[in-house]
Amino acid sequence: MTAVVEQTSAWLASFTQQPSAAPWLEELRDAGFRSFAGLGFPTTHEEEWRFTNVAPIARTTFELAAPGSGVGLAAVQDSIRIVFVNGRPANLPQRLPKGVQVGTFSGDPDGVQQHLAQYARYQDEAFVALNTAFLGDGAYVRIARGSVVEQPIELVYLTGPSAQPVVTHPRALVIVGAGAQCTLLERYEGPDDTVYFTNAVTEIVAAEGAIVDSYKLQLEGRGAFHVATLQAQLGRSANFSANSISLGGALVRNNVNAVLSEGTEATLNGLYLVNGGQHVDNHTTVDHAKPHGTSHELYKGILNGKASAVFNGRILVRKDAQKTDSKQTNKNLVLSDEAVIHTKPELQIFADDVRCTHGATIGQLDGEALFYMQSRGIGKKEARNLLTYAFAQDIIDRVRMLSLRDSLEKILFERFHENAG
């Protein structure tokens, strides 16, 4: 208990030093901090955190990153871009297509209040609680009922360099109206030479029949801690995809949680590349709350060096959720002797007329395929790179946002060649 008090009291100081906010926000903050103070940081004694030790986060004293300016950030064509600098929205798009609203929480308190913190569980998740305790003027995106938005909506989270360890608590809320359609990209970036902690929460609410394609590109700096929760609340017959590409950071935890309604279709894809001493933990929860839901999940990992990774895929099929169709696959390619992967499916099925399958594989590069390529003149290193890239290929193929697919192909191509060199 003492340890918890010590850890949380360090955060109390910065909690109390926050600028004041609207009363409803302050109420949420208080609830968040109360919860965090009670929970403390999770330890490896807890099943959900068994293989991810967050002690390096708990024992570091972080300052709240100073608000940054978005001046000088280039505008991009053909996308709607919201740029967070040091945890706060600094740059909002000037022109928006019909049916799209973008703003900060203070710009639409009534609309935001209905949804904010209603889905992500600050009550029992310490990092969500901590994010909620530091709620400020986050960003919201609202897509009007029936609107089809062609341009991707990008949320870019930048952390600037700092001599001291800094923390940001970015928060976003995306509200998609009935029958509306949109593509979202969240991108996280920061400097390699700064110790910083991104503690992010994004809530997505998709109404009946909405179609939401969401992507996350995690490109944090080498020394970064990154804990993020994507919480999706999905309406009847909605179609949702979450694609999580995790490439950066030192200690990373990605939580993707989706709650399905009747006839909802959810696709969760993920790709994680770890090297050196990196640790990346992907925890997903698919909550089939109502009948006729479909979920497909494919996560692939490539591990090298002394890196470690975790995949934990929880599928919850509630008593009412008859005719659920759920499939989960996790595949890992281990390139070194010292890399470690922990993979665990977690199926909790309370309905009796469902189809749920799951599978996990851990393997190395195929020696036969390597020799086959070499026998055609392709050098061993290049053959290894090609096979490694090929392993990631089906996740990249599933990316429907073309500009992202292009940049991913480029990033991965360079990454594999750098590893070989």
Partner: protein, 258 residues
């Protein structure tokens, strides 16, 4: 000077000795058939020539164009002009046939001091060679050998050979699993590649292939050694009397044949 000179070659896999002293000399332009019962070491010889690490060479020498072949990595052998058509071509999901072949051709060309082909020249070359093998161009965009039928895989091997233009081609049981039409196509492709500069080693269990690819020499392998050598009539003799007629019997299936 012979293109390939194998002297007293010994090789083993694990603790099991498979090649027990092979002597073979192949001149430019010659086609040599290597026949023999299961487990006699035919495939092992083919794989050793291509540089498969699974097999450990324990004695003897292999000279290719006068150089020590066994010193070279598999990729360097390919760049020097050796090609192995696999008995079991490997599936590589996620790598397209086109990309694979272009990467292979350009490394081989580079090592021969030739410029890399641009996309259009490459496509033209590939189209011409596909026609030769009666192959569907759609196979180019599919992952290497993935989901190919047995016949498509074997054709794909000879197609790769046609594109890479080796000096020494080793065909490892290219006839196995082929129906007569596919066999004719494959043999036709091979024959089109015969030239005074190019030598071939055709490894086969059955004489049938040699009706279509007529060899200059036939060698019968038994228990890791060449038991008998002769002209093409030796294959016919084998067809009539079987290996038993020569006093040669199947060994138990060799280990690690894959």
């Amino acid at each position: 000077m012979a293109l390939l000179e194998i002297k007293d070659l010994h090789a083993k896999v694990g603790d099991r000795e498979i090649l027990k002293g092979i002597d073979l000399s192949i001149n430019a332009g010659e086609v040599h058939a290597i026949m023999g019962p299961n487990g006699s070491g035919k495939s092992t010889l083919a794989q050793v020539l291509a540089g498969r690490e699974l097999y450990q060479v324990t004695g003897g020498q292999v000279l290719y164009e006068g150089k020590d072949l066994l010193e070279l990595s598999p990729e360097d052998r390919a760049r020097e002009g050796i090609f192995l058509a696999f008995q079991y071509p490997v599936e590589i999901p996620g790598v397209s046939n086109m990309y694979f072949l272009k990467a292979a051709l350009n490394t081989v060309r580079k090592s021969r001091g030739l410029a890399e082909l641009d996309a259009m020249d490459f496509l033209n070359l590939v189209r011409e060679k596909m026609k030769l093998m009666d192959m569907d161009q759609a196979l180019l965009n599919r992952p290497v050998n993935t989901g190919f039928s047995g016949g498509e895989k074997k054709r794909n091997e000879i197609f790769q050979m046609a594109v890479l233009e080796p000096r020494l081609a080793v065909l490892d049981e290219t006839d196995s699993g082929l129906d007569i039409d596919a066999l004719r196509t494959v043999a036709g492709g091979v024959n089109a590649l015969r030239s005074p500069e190019r030598s071939m080693i055709v490894v086969t269990h059955y004489q049938r292939l040699l009706n279509y690819i007529v060899p200059d020499f036939v060698h019968v392998l038994a228990e890791g050694r060449i038991a008998k050598s002769g002209g093409k009539e030796l294959a016919v003799e084998l067809e009539a009397s079987g290996y038993a007629g020569l006093g040669i019997y199947d060994e138990e299936e060799a280990v690690g044949k894959a």
